[in-house]
Amino acid sequence: MAINFTDHGGTVIQFVRAYLIFWGSAWSNNPPPTPTSVEVTDSMNRIVSGGYLTGLAQYRGVGQGYILGTHTVNISNPPNSFTDTQVANLISGLIGAGTIPNLDADNQTLYIVFMPSGINSATSGVIGEHTYYTNSSGKRVHFAWVTNDGTLSSISIIASHEIAESMSDPEGSAILGDAGTCSGDGWCEIGDVCEGNDGTVNGTSVQSLWSQSARRCVVFDYPTQTYPFVGTQFTGTVAANSSARWYTFNWASWQQVGWTVVPTTVNSAGAQLSWSVAVQRTAGSYITYWITVTNNTSEAVTFEGRYVVLGRWQ
């Protein structure tokens, strides 16, 4: 049967705030382990804020994010053959103690727990997973865990899979494969059908993900583009001594855009137009710009609304 994914309308994480937890005293050893927690943190930053997650825009506008913080747990060690419940209890305990931040108001937080080398899941053969638990306030706390074979590339590949799936389907109710798409148990998600197909994005190893629009596994990255580039987005007319507002939508959130307004009606007497810009993030990947243009003269003025895309980062 052909691979096909459908949006079932459940919760997604639009703009992830990833909180990294390094569980176990081994992360604080001297000399430090390979890889170190600093190296893993750098890799996660490259994943969540680089081009890798931009391809998720096709899934209800899901986009990038950032690393909210990190914490190393020295006072306990994960048991070998650990369970999801034990990971959930760790996170719940750290939140309850005020050691790590609680969920943000819009529940975009993803807690990611990194195991020390040599510690395995109770479920044989499973090297990473994401799921959630329900806290005492009835809110769902989304988390993932990642095992460690002692190489940064393995950790980052597993984590990239779990982060992307946590965003597109944090609760098993959003972007899911149709019946027959996956052969294994559990939620059938966009990373599951692309395992073993890896690449490098933003200087770190990642796993490819299913692109429903391309109908194949893709290592997502930024499109090739030379910056800056400019253009005229719209033209308009503002009546005498009044203001009007235009909006323009679905601008990539990872691009930095500036706006200017230039009259096309000639006037030799003085300043004609002024403008201001308001911004709205309609989804993780998309920005809407609202440009208010004010005509300071006693006659109608036509104008061009011009953009300059200054660049992107990471």
Partner: protein
């Protein structure tokens, strides 16, 4: 061109706050933009203005005032672009 995120913050509903960032090279052309990190599907969320201070012959401080135009708290990020 060099671009990046200089700071992130949170603005309470319907409030304006000002951030400053210092020791920028006065010879550089720096453009500031602000983007919300909170999702809102119904209305514009923030606008901003920039003021500038020459603190010495070799340094500029930028003051960025950001206004939350919604009835809910909004997370923001302030982005810079430096033209060489």
């Amino acid at each position: 061109m060099q671009t990046g995120i200089q700071f992130r913050g949170t603005l309470p509903a319907n409030q304006t706050a000002r951030w400053y960032t210092f020791n920028w090279n006065p010879a550089s052309y720096v453009i500031w933009t602000v983007v919300p990190d909170s999702i809102n599907t119904s209305a514009p969320e923030v606008n901003w203005s920039v003021a500038v201070q020459r603190t010495s012959a070799t340094a500029v401080t930028y003051w960025i005032s950001i206004t939350n135009t919604t009835n809910a708290s909004v997370d923001i990020e302030a982005r810079y672009a430096i033209f060489p």
